[in-house]
Symmetry: C2
Subunit: 381 residues, 2 copies
């Protein structure tokens, strides 16, 4: 099976909470960030709780962690955990955003545990000169509909909208902020003299939901954070101070990014044609997929003869991440690609249909979420 992002040219890799650029070398991130790979022992233990390993674990879409072993050990001793993740609401949600949410919902179901979800409308406002708070608040609402459409249970899901709910977080952010010097923040996040002071403070706000469960319920349990690995720097500083504040260190499980539809897996908000958004109508989906970068050859005849390369194909990643759950069928698709039996147009037609079916059902649930969204708001609980 082709592994995602079989990178050769890593020169330009940039992975920070605000920017992901170049080909991402995940092995190198594990080394540089100092996280742990998922070991067979850990997976075996996880399997005892989830019956079957989730597709995203099995395929190492979630590939790295901190302290998941500790969290499971505590769980065995009767100390539960809460889930915490979030979203920077700066625009519409795309398929790549749904991937870790689908896995998070799986954890919520299997471990019957609570999810705190932070809508960081404040951060997205602070880090972009052009963006207004009204914009990010609008996207908070829109993105929450997508989150709910993934199937989270209202009784176990607590959405925190930063700009509305700061009174709930503020005392915790103060305790955190007091223990992070400017020098630590600068070296962790690369702040500069021109960085605004809101951005400088913000790491304390992203830390706060790790600890909010104790405030709301009195229970001191660890938080487990499923999130893309670019967010790791936030949790590093949070982990450094958690125990001083009387909390468990937050544990993390890190996922890869779904590559974009452009050449080299490029995907960015400024290039909407490289992502499939949940609000894209069927013809837009078809067009984006039709223009997607694949590992195919210049002509059909050439491809029939020489085969194509699924390791660089953006369409193949859609099967790998979400749309082909059977390993056998995925291997078969890869084989037929390499041998030239399948041409790119066939895969494109097929994935566009699958995507549109998926999105139609998602949008139906998303529409219904407009009636239930208040049930998820942390303040209504």
């Amino acid at each position: 099976m082709a592994s995602p992002n079989n990178d050769e040219n890593n020169n330009e890799m940039v992975v920070t909470p605000w920017e992901v650029k170049g080909k991402v070398d995940y092995e190198r991130l594990i080394r540089e960030f100092g996280t742990q790979p998922l070991t067979p022992e850990l997976l075996a233990k996880l399997e005892t709780y989830t019956n079957k390993l989730h597709l995203q674990i099995e395929r190492r879409i979630f590939f790295s962690h901190r302290d998941v072993d500790t969290v499971l050990k505590l769980y065995e001793q009767g100390i539960k955990f809460v889930l915490y993740t979030g979203r920077g609401p700066s625009g519409p949600v795309h398929i790549g955003h749904l991937i870790p949410w689908i896995f998070t919902r799986h954890l919520q179901e299997k471990f019957k545990t609570r999810l705190y979800f932070q809508m960081t409308d404040d951060e997205k406002f602070l880090i972009d000169d052009q963006r207004t708070l009204a914009d990010t608040q609008k996207w908070s609402y829109e993105n929450a509909l997508d989150l709910i459409a993934v199937g989270f249970k209202p009784e176990d899901t607590f959405i925190i909208y930063d700009s509305q709910d700061m009174d709930l977080l503020y005392d915790i952010t103060l305790e955190v902020a007091k223990r992070i010097t400017y020098s630590t923040a600068r070296s962790t996040f690369g702040f500069q003299d021109s960085t605004n002071i809101g951005w400088v403070y913000w790491p304390a706000i992203q830390a706060a939901p790790c600890f909010i469960h104790k405030k709301l319920t009195g229970e001191n349990v660890p938080a487990l954070i499923p999130a893309a690995i670019d967010q790791d720097p936030y949790w590093r500083v949070t982990r450094d101070i958690a125990q001083k504040l009387g909390y468990y260190k937050p544990a993390q499980i890190h996922c890869r990014f779904l590559p974009g539809l452009g050449a080299g897996g490029k995907m960015s908000a400024s290039m909407p044609e490289t992502s499939i958004f949940t609000i894209d109508p069927p013809d837009v989906v078809k067009k984006k997929i039709w223009n997607a970068f694949t590992g195919g050859k210049g002509t059909a005849a050439e491809q029939r003869k020489l085969g194509a390369d699924p390791t660089v194909c953006s369409i193949f990643q859609y099967y790998f991440f979400l749309f082909e759950e059977s390993n056998e069928k995925l291997a078969e698709r890869e084989r037929k690609c390499r041998s030239g039996e399948t041409l790119c147009g066939e895969c494109k037609k097929d994935i566009a249909e699958k995507l549109n079916q998926f999105l139609e059902a998602h949008r139906e649930r998303r529409e219904k979420a407009k009636d239930t969204i208040e049930q998820y708001h942390v303040k209504r609980k």
Copy 2:
């Protein structure tokens, strides 16, 4: 009449929002901070609204300003203003704290205007390693009782407790923080690499109440801030960005510090014997006054012969700031001091009695404030 703080040795003067040290040269502060002295024209205009100039204006206890002329011009055009001041609740309130509150109440009465009062329990927590948030929250409550005892009207007085009410301020703090770079904050407040990121953000929080009136009522009016001059740096950065955000620049009127009872007017929270706290029982007041530094001579005989120096006397300042409203009587007291007719013991006995009477009445109102304190909370409005 002796003017307060007729300083000769200014070498050690330090005046920042967190530290006031050495003999304070107020003329130099006007020059260095770039504020305006109160001119006869401005006082004449103020007098038309207040009938008689308040004692604290007449004696230049309030001595400097920014934009009070602009605020009065707008007032003539029918655009009112709101008052805004605050308190860092790190301990009990002393007489020196009451001085600007008494003047603020006068402005509230004469201009029939609203006061926003910020209890900065968050700041006091952030700037002191040893202090807990529970401590500063306790002092917020205690200090609010003192504020109310000064006689502010509940219908026109809105107390903001930062650590409780951040949801009301937060969107404004974000707009402010986005427009202050770390480099501006560092040069204005002297932040260092070891400063915690909460402290770095905090100037945005002190700015927010300048602009809250528009959010709560829809009216865009300027804020006038009566406060000790050490707080000026906060308003400098706030003034720089106010108009970009669509608000008036906050105006200020600056007061002097009531000198402490120690030699050289020294007063500090770590030396409680140099201040009279509102909760000091009568015998403690007597003892502190008895030990106060005066301009007297070594022996009664010597003083009868040579006279004493009221300009360095901490007791004389109590008359000047609060306890002798008659200019004639104050001049007479000064004359008798200089001539040796009055000995220090007489003034001390007299001021201790006046203080205890004042404090007894204050504490009676303070006790009653326990029943009304909720009426002043911005969130109950």
